[in-house]
């Protein structure tokens, strides 16, 4: 069986003489570990290694894609991808020009999780689990830790050859409480682009999560309806990602004339205080990288500036089709998938309003914190809060059962009437699109206030 180092020299040969507009090869080698606790006991420890790759070819606007685990026979795989693309292609390929890049990218010096012994990881998780189980009324808990490092070789028929090493580490803790047949849960979710330090020193947060799961058992049910809602930085970041970020992914837009009309650059979506940005060049976050999976250098892109739509996220194909510049947002979950347009680090820029000012004049409203999940269908979005409190007469009041917020993007962006001064990035999420989930991303925002937001309850 071929090793990843051996494949390097074969790639240029495999491209030679192929009748295609564009061909690329991506080879990945990954090692990963996973530790899961359920209840008091460790349930699973597993190690995995993988080696695989793919070939993607473009001919006359049509794509062919071949993925594999066996690296032998690369030339035949390229031929198959080109043959597939020829069968599909019936027009002229649109593919934005990008200067070829030859580069080797090594991760920055940080606490590489893959070098830390399994025993040390387990000891840390034992400490967290002990904190959870010292809290009364706990029914069970789930702790899932995972880390991985992968080496990626990318090369294309234009002469690019990029080798990158990427790392990721994530931790999710769910605490489940039960009383009289009623089951509640609270979660904590964190991640980093490969720094184990982010997983350490969370004792206080773990304790709070466990206590909240207990408190939810006696929290009142919430009466659904329209409220003034204040979102904490985590949930506001999810809002930016779900409600607007996905709409900015050009693969939804580029072949849909009507959607193009809606997402026309220059259209006003909100007041002048709103700026929404996406960028993989902002260093140190889970969505950060130097080159995307088409070998395009990463950028920082304003999606909304002063309330007006000014940009969107592109692959080379969508950029060419829309006559815009590529933004380096084509990402693939792994070698089994072709790259598609994805977000990286998405956030709302901070403004001036303090949290106290924001809630001061709310007579009855809802303060929502922490993300539990989110989903969008472009026009409609929903996202669920991990924590929710009533706001009464300008003060944060009682804890509520979990709530789900929903709305129409176009209306809701216009209903944001205050943006805080306390930007925080959240690294706990993974983004799903098509069959490619979870892709490491980060979201962030300061506190924001939305008028007339629909909140679901019972």
């Amino acid at each position: 069986m071929l090793q990843i180092e051996q494949i390097r020299q074969w790639i240029p040969h495999a491209f030679k003489g192929q009748p295609a507009d564009y061909i690329e090869v991506r080879i990945e080698e990954r090692e990963a570990s996973r530790i899961q606790y359920r209840g008091r006991e460790l349930e699973e420890t597993g190690l995995s290694t993988s080696l695989g790759g793919n070939v993607r070819a473009l001919v006359n606007g049509g794509w062919g894609f071949v993925s594999f685990n066996e690296l032998e026979g690369l030339k035949e795989k390229v031929e198959l991808a080109v043959k597939q693309a020829r069968l599909v292609g019936k027009e002229v390929s649109s593919f934005a020009p990008v200067a070829p890049v030859v580069d080797m990218v090594e991760p920055e010096g940080k606490k590489d999780p893959t070098t830390i012994p399994l025993a040390q990881k387990k000891n840390l998780l034992d400490e967290y689990n002990e904190i959870i189980w010292s809290t009364p009324k706990i029914q069970t808990s789930v702790i899932t830790y995972g880390d991985g490092a992968k080496k990626i070789i990318f090369a294309n028929s234009e002469g690019s050859h990029i080798e990158q090493t990427k790392m990721d580490v994530s931790l999710r803790i769910a605490v489940i409480t039960r009383e009289n047949g009623d089951v509640q849960q609270a979660t904590l979710s964190l991640g980093s682009s490969g720094d184990f330090g982010f997983m350490q020193g969370l004792h206080h947060q773990v304790k709070e999560t466990a206590q909240r799961a207990v408190a939810l058992l006696s929290a009142p049910h919430f009466k659904g309806g329209e409220y003034t809602v204040v979102l904490d930085p985590v949930l506001a970041g999810v809002f930016a990602h779900e409600a607007f970020g996905h709409l900015s992914e050009s693969d939804f837009v580029y072949e849909n004339e009507r959607l193009k009309d809606i997402m026309v650059l220059g259209r006003r979506f909100s007041g002048e205080h709103l700026n929404i940005v996406d960028g993989a060049t902002i260093p140190g976050f889970r969505g950060s990288y130097k080159y995307d999976d088409e070998g395009v250098p990463a950028t920082k892109t304003y999606l909304i500036r002063e309330g007006v739509l000014v940009g969107r996220l592109h692959s080379r194909e969508t950029a060419a089709k829309m006559g815009e510049e590529p933004t380096g947002n084509a990402r693939a979950l792994d070698y089994r998938h072709p790259p598609i347009v994805r977000m990286t680090n998405t956030f709302i820029e901070p403004r001036e309003v303090s949290f106290d000012e924001m809630i001061a004049d709310i007579r009855e409203g809802v303060y929502v914190k922490n993300w539990y999940g989110g989903m969008t269908s472009m026009e409609m979005f929903t996202f669920s809060a991990g924590e929710a409190y009533m706001i009464r007469d300008g003060r944060v009041a009682e804890l509520l059962r979990p709530v789900v917020l929903t709305g129409n993007v176009f209306v809701t962006l216009g209903n944001i009437d205050a943006i805080g001064n306390d930007l925080q990035m959240n690294q706990g999420g993974g983004c799903g699109k098509g069959a490619q989930s979870p892709l490491p991303v980060s979201n962030g925002s300061p506190h924001i206030r939305i008028r007339k937001c629909l909140v679901g309850g019972r």
Binding site: M1, R34, R38, E41, L42, T45, G46, L47, S48, T49, S50, L51, G52, G62, W63, G64, F65, V66, S67, F68, N69, E70, L80, Q84, A85, L87, L118, A119, Q139, I176, R178, V183, Q184, Q185, G224, E255, N256, R258, I262, R336, P338, G373, M375, S377, M378, E379, M380, T382, F383, S384, R401, P402, V404, T406, N408, L454, V455, G456, G457, R458
Partner: protein, 434 residues
């Protein structure tokens, strides 16, 4: 595989090797036309060992280095959980038809033709509809070997057709869609196109419902989006042994409507979720979960069954090469007696839900669902008057399914995981904007 087993047996008391490989050929359509052809080949080898009574686990796609795989499994075993089960020795497996050689033989040109004619039929009804479609075939092989002489292997074929249509008018977006899958080639598009055209018809106008408690009919797709996850979780043996399922200790109790029956079945011929044995080599079976409203059984793999002093129900599944854990195969909800049209005629003011989004984000373990109606219709005096928007439906399955107004007469598969009729709930919380 034999080599891995041999090496593992030297390093540990018990060992089990699992090899899965699959070749998929998807054809993708975007913006009403053919966009890409793909071939995806993958294979992975997993090793589970029991060493000094503890479980070790490792998996790899590098099939040629058995020694490295064994070493990784041994490394994890020192921290592993105590094994409470014995691996199955040689078993008699049921005859479950999941392989049809015709699938592999379907020419790419025919798949392209299927996608094209599917899009053409629905766009014949609504020319402005922008369609994405996918037609895919695949063939997979599974082989399991263990140190107790257990051995199982089977082949499975899979064929699927999916359509998603988007209709945009100003900033109003309508999403319609349907998916059909089988272990045999699909050639008849009638059911798919009928469903999508019906969605387009019912959604022609928009309407708004009032907030409050309203009767709600969930179509089969609606049932999947609201009820599948909480049900699958509640009957999962893992949740049960942890005491996290609200159904723990309530076997034999009438918790659901007395016409409501639910079972899990991995033995239905040519269904994608079917198989002769699970991923631990335990024979597949049909397991009653709810019998006429009464909680009957839970779904177990080997380890959770041992912890619950029960027997594995053949529900040990591995998500992409992971450790086995209990998971539903295919849930089936028994048909009732009311035709869909009659449910609609029965409502003075009510809602039909085709799809909720975000329903699975809440406290699903507690049975709660709360989602935005992505596709749903308002009913007024027994007639669908239009599609609703900016509307949320919330509830808890343990209330919603306790007393149903009716269960639909015709069941259908939604994807490969659930076959269900429409369910008619007398009252659910509906919150609406405007």
């Amino acid at each position: 595989m034999e080599r891995v087993l041999e090496l593992a047996k030297k390093a540990a008391e018990e060992a089990e090797v699992f090899l899965a490989s699959v070749t998929e050929t998807p054809v993708g359509f975007e913006a009403n036309r053919l966009k890409r052809l793909e071939t995806r080949e993958s294979s992975s080898l997993s090793l589970r060992i029991i060493k000094e009574g503890k479980i070790g686990f490792a998996t790899t796609t590098k099939l040629s280095d058995p020694q490295a795989l064994v070493e990784m499994a041994v490394e994890t075993a020192q921290f592993g959980v105590e094994a409470r089960f014995a691996l199955p020795s040689q078993q008699a497996y049921p005859q479950v038809e999941v392989y049809d050689p015709e699938v592999e033989a379907v020419p790419i040109e025919d798949m392209v033709e299927l996608g094209d004619s599917l899009m053409a039929k629905v766009r014949d009804h609504t020319p402005e509809l922008v369609c994405e479609a996918g037609v895919a075939k695949s063939v997979g092989r599974v082989r399991i070997l263990n140190s107790r002489g257990g051995e199982a292997s089977y082949q499975k074929s899979f064929f699927t057709i999916a359509l998603e249509g988007t209709l945009i008018r100003d900033t109003d977006m309508l999403f319609v869609g349907e998916v059909e899958s089988s272990c045999q080639p699909i050639t008849d598009l009638t059911a798919l196109t009928d469903t999508v055209i019906q969605q387009l018809e019912l959604a022609k106008n928009t309407a708004s419902v009032s907030s409050g408690q309203l009767p709600v009919v969930f179509t089969p797709r609606g049932v999947r989006s609201a009820f599948l996850s909480p049900l699958a979780l509640a009957f999962n043996g893992r949740m049960v042994v942890q005491g996290a399922s609200p159904l723990v200790g309530r076997e034999g109790k009438q918790l659901f409507d007395n016409r409501f029956s639910l079972w899990d079945d991995a033995t239905i011929a040519y269904r994608p979720a079917s198989r002769p044995c699970d991923d631990e080599g335990v024979p597949s079976q049909k397991t009653a979960l709810i019998e006429k409203g009464i909680v009957a059984n839970f779904l177990y793999d080997l380890q959770t069954a041992a912890l619950a002093s029960a027997r594995s129900t053949g529900n040990g599944s591995r998500g992409r090469g992971g450790m086995p854990s209990p998971s539903v195969s295919a849930l089936v909800i028994e048909e009732g007696d009311m035709p869909f049209e009659e449910m609609i005629r029965d409502m003075k003011e009510g809602l039909v839900v085709e799809q909720l989004i975000g329903a699975e984000q809440g406290n699903i373990l507690g049975g709660e669902f709360s989602g935005n109606v992505l596709l749903g219709y308002k009913v007024e005096r027994g007639e669908v008057v239009g599609r609703v928007k900016d509307t949320m439906v919330s509830g808890n399955i343990y209330h919603a399914l306790r007393e149903l107004s009716a269960i639909g007469r015709e069941a259908k598969w939604v994807g490969s995981v659930i076959r269900t009729p429409a369910l008619y709930c007398p009252k659910l919380a509906v919150a609406s904007k405007g």
